[in-house]
Structure formats: C-alpha cells, structure tokens
Symmetry: C2
Subunit: 332 residues, 2 copies
C-alpha cells in the first residue's frame, strides 16, 4: 500500500487537519521510461497556503481530492528510465505520496554524502535560493547598511540574516520567542533580535536596535510588522516582499496604513518576487550557497518532524511558528 495526502476542502482561515485526507492506494507500478520514487524528505512551506485557495496566482491552485505537491527529496526504488538508477536520490516538485510514478523530467540528482539530504529542501533548495536572490537582487545590499528581517528564525529568514552578515551588513531579526531570539544572536550571528510576542511597540523596538534607520527590510510576514519597519525605513530604502505569512489565513481583505506617501517621501522601493523569477541563475546561487556552507559561514538550521502522516500538522504548525529554520518531514 502507499499513502497519499489530498486536499479534502479549501481551508477557511487557519488550515486544520480535517482540510486534508490521507488515503490508501495500491503501490503503483511503472512502465518503460518511468521511475518509481519513494519520498524521503517532504518540504512544508507557507506559500502552499496560497495554492489551497481557489484563486488566480503565479501557480495554479491545488484541486479538491487531488494530492498536494511540494518540494520533495525521493529515492529511486525502481527504474525503467536509463537516466536514473535504483538508489539515486532526486529532488523536485512531487506529490505528497509515499510512492509515486514519475518520468524523471524536471527532477535533479542530489547526494547526501557531504550534507544531509534535507538540506536540498532548505539552504541548497528553493529556500536558500529565495534568501540569496531576494536579498542580493532586490535588496542590493551595500556594506555597512542595516538589514531588518522578519520571520528571522524561519526557513528563509535565518538564511537571509546570515547572508547579510557575510555581506557586511548590520542585521536585526524579528522572531516569535526568546528561544528564537537566542538562536539568532548566539548561533547565527545576528547583531540583534526582537521577540515580537513580548514587544508592545514594534516600531520603537526597531528604532532602538537600528537608531540610524533601516536600509533593507526583508519581509516574510507583512501586516503590522511591515508597518513598523516602514516607520523606520531610510531614504532609498528597499523592502523585499518575500511573503506575508501573517495574512495568508485572513478571510477578509486586510487593511492597514497607506504606504504610498512614505514611498514617495523617502524614495523607497517595495518589490515582491518569487524565487522562480531567478530560475536561470539558480546554478550561481546553489554554487555560492554550497561554498558558504562548506566554509562554515552559513549554518543550516532545520526542524525535522517524522512520519508521512505528520505532513499536514507540520504544515499547520508553520503558522504558529513552531519551526526553527526549515520545516521538513522525514519519511521512513
């Protein structure tokens, strides 16, 4: 038998376990040209929430009663495709299935010799590339500038801050617990970090740690955190809109202070992106991230949850910030 996780219904607000269903299917068999894959590590990511809405976006919505898909590392357990052999590890966009049949197209080989296979879902995967291209291409960092990162202890944020330090920036993180604040300042080299759960006036807290203002704000969160950052943004500041996790479960159109006057007065750029915009430069990004990782300049922080059935809960837990670094589900 082989389990599959399908979207049972579109979540209303925060996703719940009963929005998903685990169904049992017969283990599939393969034809010539195909491979049989067994999932090893499954990535859960906040952006998947968007695909659960029936709404136009940069990627099509998941369908009801069809499998969810995300980035997965899988092992080839049977191959009738000459490009791949049994025992190969591949990564790419795959269904949430224990076993699945695939042509092998749009997958790439990875190896777990020098680094954990789960790293290909984190620092060496789309997560690391999101941090790398967002900060460098949109943030245009210059040595000595101040970088503020929200969701700083999360998958992308924890890498953004570390790249910021490599680039010679002063880096301030925003995270949701004292434990995460310690992780950022004691282990990941952030200059300062703010626990938003124990901070009443976020704009004042940012000002305290960034008395000269914020040059670059890498936003994973949106909403009030963005507002507070904008109150501290410097002239010619750059806001990198990577995500807005605080808004993903909203059921009404969220409102907030209008930002256009600040944009004009301070010549600020706000720019949203998805990592696939930089797809043709992925090799450059992977090479640089691998180099920093080997040199010990970049630490690979992850939260690993175990067992195929845990995937929905791991996804739901992202919205409570239960992860430190990349949230990954390990499958046996």
């Amino acid at each position: 038998m082989s389990k599959t996780i399908v979207l049972k219904q579109r979540p209303d607000g925060t996703p719940k376990n009963n929005d998903f269903e685990i169904i049992n299917e017969n283990q599939p068999s393969i034809k010539s040209g195909e491979i049989l894959l067994k999932a090893k590590y499954v990535s859960v990511d906040p952006y998947l929430r968007g695909r659960m809405r029936d709404e136009e976006s940069y990627i099509e919505p998941f369908k009801i009663n069809k499998p969810i898909a995300s980035t997965v590392v899988a092992e080839v357990v049977e191959s009738k495709n000459e490009k791949y052999k049994e025992g190969d590890f591949l990564t790419g966009m795959l269904d949430w299935k224990e076993y699945q049949v695939h042509t092998g197209d749009n997958l790439r080989n990875v190896d777990g010799d020098s680094i954990s296979l789960s790293a290909y879902l984190g620092v060496l995967g789309l997560t690391g590339l999101t941090a790398y291209f967002g900060l460098n291409r949109i943030g245009e960092p210059k040595k000595g500038e101040t970088l503020l990162v929200s969701g700083a202890a999360g998958a992308v944020g924890s890498i953004v801050g570390q790249i910021g330090k490599i680039k010679g920036l002063r880096v301030i993180g925003i995270a949701g617990s004292d434990e995460k604040v310690s992780l950022l300042t004691d282990q990941l080299g952030f200059d300062a970090a703010i626990n938003y759960n124990t901070t009443d006036d976020m704009a004042a807290a940012i000002k305290e740690y960034a008395p000269d203002g914020v040059d670059i704000y890498f936003d994973n969160v949106g909403s009030y955190t963005l507002d507070a950052a904008m109150k501290n943004i410097n002239r010619f500041g750059r806001v990198i809109n990577c995500g807005a996790i605080s808004l993903y479960n909203e059921t009404e159109q969220p409102t907030g202070p209008r930002l256009e006057t600040t944009l004009v007065k301070k010549s600020v750029k706000m720019q949203g992106f998805i990592v696939r915009n930089f797809e043709e430069d992925f090799p450059e990004g992977v090479q640089q991230l691998s180099k920093w990782l080997k040199e010990g300049k970049l630490k690979h922080e992850e939260t690993i949850v175990e067992g195929f059935d845990s995937i929905p809960q791991a996804f739901i837990d992202l919205f409570d910030g239960k992860n430190k670094g990349k949230m990954v589900v390990k499958i046996y």
Copy 2:
C-alpha cells in the same frame, strides 16, 4: 514696493487663502556680486503641500511667517554680478516675491526665443524631468506594454502619457472631467481616458480599457485610484509612486487594503522617487524633452493664472484639479 507671500499658518487639511499672507516690503537693493530679480512666472506644485507640514521629509519644511519658495522664472533687472546681465532670464528655486536679491548660485539661464518662458516650469523644468525619469528609470517601459497614468491631465501626468506614446506603449489616463478626458484622447494622443468623477467602479473601468492588465502604473494620486490600479496590475508590473495628491490634505493616517500579498503574488515593484534623485542626468532629460518638443511629438499643456496675488489660490486650486497641464502664475 515689493510683495512677498509668507506661510501664515500650517494648513489644516485643504489649504485656504488665510494660511498665506501677502506682505509689502521695500524694494530691496543689491550689493556687489548680487543680482536683483523680478519674478515673471511662478510654479505652483502639489509637493509644496508637504513642505507646509512641520514634518521630516526629503526637504525642510517652510517656516511660519517666512516666504514660500518654488521654481520661478525671473528677469534680472539689475546686476552687480559679472555672470549675469540686465534682461537675462533665470530659473531655479526662488521665493514667492515680486523682487528679490540673489547671488545667482544654483540658477540657470533660459531663453524664451523658441518656446514660452513658462515651459521651463513645465515640460523643460522639474515637471518634465519628473515624467521622463520616473517613467523611464523606474517604469522601464517596453514597447507594446500598457501604461496607466493617474492625474493624467495634470502637469506631470500629461507628459508621462505622451512619452508613453513615443515609447510605443498603450496609454490610459485617469482624470477628473470629461473636458480633461477629451484633452487626453483628442489632443495628447492617449489611447483611452477615464473620468473618475463619473465612474463608480474604477477597477472595472480600468479593466475595460486594459483587458490584458496594466504593466506600468504611474501614480500621481494614491489612495483608491492606486487600489483600483493594483487590482489590474500584471505580473512583473511596475508602480511608479510619483505623488499622492489625494492624500496630501489628510489630517489622519489614511488606511486602505494591504498591498503586500499582491506584490508577492505578482512580483510587482512599487517605487517612490523625487526628481532630484536623477539630478546628475538632468542634461540628458532636458535635451531629450527639448528634442521631442521641437519635433512636435510632445505638446506643452499649461494653465496660466495671472497676477502675483493669485499665487495662493492657484496653489489651492491644484487640489480641486482646476488645472490642465502645468499650473503657472504669470507675474507682470
């Protein structure tokens, strides 16, 4: 005697005539190295509203009981400075005074031989340069794209739309009367224009004229107009935040729908600017604008009000959209 207009009090909401005072002074005399200037044309601009607030910005606030300043074309009526002679026309940032003494620094000579002197406050001045650099440098227009312009019949907007046509864009304007709509479509070459005063659903109206969406939105207005534009923005769209005239007289922090989710989902850039950011390239801009003007590709639309005492009212009238093109006060 010589009149001066001072800021009597900081406007509360929409500026009123009694926020200004016209005072009479003796005609000043000049010392060695100085010139005596007589104002000929005075520019009134929405951005001046910002300087009337006691608030940090890119330029210092006007002081109470001190003269307002804006861009002016003035005649040299007496010179003790070898750089300038009687009868020269100069332009630059000058006080709202009939006569004023100046060192001549930061002013430049202009001539009215081939074009009206008032053009140096409009298409050949900061207004034209704002349109030119905002559209080109931030908008990054590509032939065949759709450009939406708000405040389209205003000083900057009317030039933006015409440059858009020169660049091969489909251009849609938003303005506040049927007369302005006709000006845009019949005289300035816009492909379509929307009268916001007779349109209930602005987002739907934009969609009607831009069925394939908006690639570039040049925003002079902010607020609801920006919201409607954002509902039609395309993937990789660029929003040029040039001004937010609809918000300049607000006394409370305006709120509206949060835009960060749209920025991320559609990889949209919003970027504010002031024209002085491009100061080192002004010669390029003036040269190009002059060339288009001579070739008849660019029309120079202006609303001329007469008499020094009319300056405050002309400024106030900007917020009611009483101008078509550049609002200029001609002084005798």
